[in-house]
């Protein structure tokens, strides 16, 4: 089965074609980062306006690149939530109506299920069951995964998501928006021993997170020191270590608590180099394996939507002609397949 996937939930337009036999055939991404940078965050109306201009050109591009004819496409998957409603409606509208015109089934994909399944696009994909850590701009969740659509939430952030904490702290450091990757680069020059930030909520049992205190801690620390590049790098480094160590502690706990030996991590922050190194080290100690998406599929992309949609279409799922989208959509409410 060959599936066209469309992602427009936030500030990237992503389109891809995935084939259940041949794997990923082509993908293309348009990022709106420059469009929103001067506003210090995503402006929903601007995001929607951009998606409506970029979606069809990207679809044409991936069809060409994959050497795909219309007859070769067996289904269309689009992100229907969670995310920015106006932005979601563009991808859903184009996707659902294109499927109608091509007379193929359409399926509405949950954005976080897309992220969660992204590591399955890689060689040696994880096998169920596993623990998944979803760390993105809007989510920090630990999930026990028994199969596609069989998700048990083990813990989540009670305030800021990890990516959001990276971005907000980056802003304090004057690194622009979204500053997560820039903060991480700056941290590489930092002295890991100069400051020690707290590891929130690790001193008590449970798998929930809280990251909003870390940016306050960063601000307080910055007020006591100079604002030279090295000072900033030292703060960035201490911040990053605190987030990473907290995530690692909770992942270890989740593996121990579930008795599982496979950990999967996905979402924008899973691109973080230090996080990957520390999780790899922890996994060896826990006799477990860790699986990541390739770097370009950590953040939003069409490939993960095409893949997730393909699994659901193969299971016979398909969406009615109505194409409503949902800004909020709990992942636990998804139907299990297989």
């Amino acid at each position: 089965m060959r599936v066209l996937g469309i992602e427009t939930s936030c500030d990237e337009t992503g389109v891809a074609i995935y084939d259940s036999e041949a794997g990923l055939l082509a993908h293309a991404l348009h990022s709106q980062v420059d469009l929103h940078a001067e506003y210090g965050g995503v402006v929903p109306e601007l995001a929607s306006r951009d998606h409506v201009q970029k979606t069809l050109p990207l679809i044409r591009e991936v069809m060409d690149r994959a050497g795909c004819q219309v007859e070769d496409v067996n289904g269309i998957a689009y992100t229907a939530g969670p995310g920015l409603l106006g932005a979601l409606l563009v991808g859903a509208g184009v996707g659902r109506n294109l499927a109608y015109a091509w007379n193929v089934p359409a399926v509405a994909v949950h954005h976080m299920e897309g992220h969660l399944l992204a590591p399955l696009l890689e060689p040696n994909p994880p096998v169920f069951p596993f623990v998944a850590l979803l760390v993105s701009g809007g989510h920090t969740q630990l999930v026990a995964v028994q199969g596609i659509g069989r998700y048990e939430l083990l813990g989540q952030s009670l305030d800021d998501a990890a990516g959001e904490a990276f971005d907000k702290t980056a802003k304090l450091l004057g690194l622009g928006y979204p500053g997560g990757p820039a903060l991480s680069r700056l941290a590489e020059q930092g002295d890991p021993h100069r400051f020690k930030f707290p590891r929130p909520m690790t001193d008590r049992p449970g798998l929930d997170f809280s990251f909003s205190g870390l940016k306050t801690f960063a601000l307080t620390t910055m007020n006591t020191i100079g604002d030279g590049v090295q000072d900033k790098a030292d703060v960035a480094c201490a911040f990053e270590i605190a987030v990473v160590e907290t995530l690692v502690i909770k992942c270890r706990r989740a593996l121990q608590q579930t008795g599982m030996h496979t950990l999967l991590i996905a979402g924008g922050v899973s691109a973080n180099r230090r996080l990957r190194e520390r999780l790899d080290a922890m996994a060896i100690e826990e006799k477990s394996s860790v699986h990541y998406p390739r770097l370009e599929f950590c953040t939003d992309n069409g490939a993960m939507i095409a893949f997730a949609g393909c699994q659901r279409l193969l299971a016979g799922e398909q969406h009615a002609l109505a194409f409503g989208a949902r800004a909020r959509w709990p992942m636990e409410s998804l139907h299990a397949i297989g």
Partner: protein
């Protein structure tokens, strides 16, 4: 001539299939239901007429101005259907569709169309209609109601702007006002037919919204 037309730009949601002189249509007033209603309506009219998308001469859609989300829903539907069946597209103004609706029903030729743009403004334009179609007399724009100005004439006012800003439009002399009228797909279809005849069609990728209001974000200081 076969044209499929869509309108989701304001509170209304409607679809019309124009087959030469026959029109098959579906419509509802559903401010938040556009995404759920529109494709089932398309499917119904096509099935009723036993017409396939690929048989059409063109697809016409209301490209705004109107509700940003509503206009984009119509645009994305038009893009998906047109791209998927290799159809050319006729983007039609919501204001022109309103004007044609007035002319179609009452024969009034001079129409001043105003849609409530919120934020103390209206989207508006002035038209002269005849059997062949609508001619624009004052270009589409978004302004405070006080700034709506037209040459003297036998004007009929149409659109939601007249209800929302009645007090602030008293400087305008009109024969009558149809504030309740919404743009309708049958009028979009009729104006789309002109576009086909005149060869004024665009590819699916160029089927894009017209918002008129382009300042929608303010840089953080």
């Amino acid at each position: 001539m076969k044209i499929l037309a869509l309108d989701t730009a304001t509170e209304g949601c409607s679809v019309a299939l124009l087959l030469d002189d026959v029109i098959i249509e579906r419509g509802e007033v559903a401010p938040r239901g556009h995404a759920d209603l529109i494709l089932p309506m398309v499917d119904e009219v096509l099935t009723e007429a036993n017409v396939k998308l690929s048989h059409l001469d063109a697809l016409a859609f209301d490209r705004g101005p109107g509700s940003f989300t509503g206009v984009r829903i119509g645009t994305s539907v038009a893009q998906g259907l047109a791209f998927g069946s290799d159809l050319m597209v006729s983007p039609i103004s919501s204001l022109a569709a309103l004007a044609w609706g007035v002319f179609r029903e009452s024969g009034h030729t001079e129409v001043l169309a105003l849609i409530d743009a919120r934020m103390d403004e209206v989207y508006w334009a002035a038209f002269r209609c005849d059997e062949r179609g609508v001619n624009i007399l004052v270009e589409e724009q978004v302004t405070p109601p006080e700034q709506v100005q037209v040459p003297t004439g036998a004007w009929v006012g149409v659109g939601s702007g007249w209800a929302s800003y009645a007090q602030r439009l008293q400087h305008l002399l009109v024969l009558k006002i149809e504030a309740e009228r919404l743009p309708q797909a049958r009028d979009v279809a009729r104006l789309g037919r002109n576009a086909v005849t005149q060869g004024k069609l665009v590819r699916a990728e160029a089927a894009l919204p017209v918002y008129l209001r382009n300042k929608v974000a303010w840089a953080k200081s």
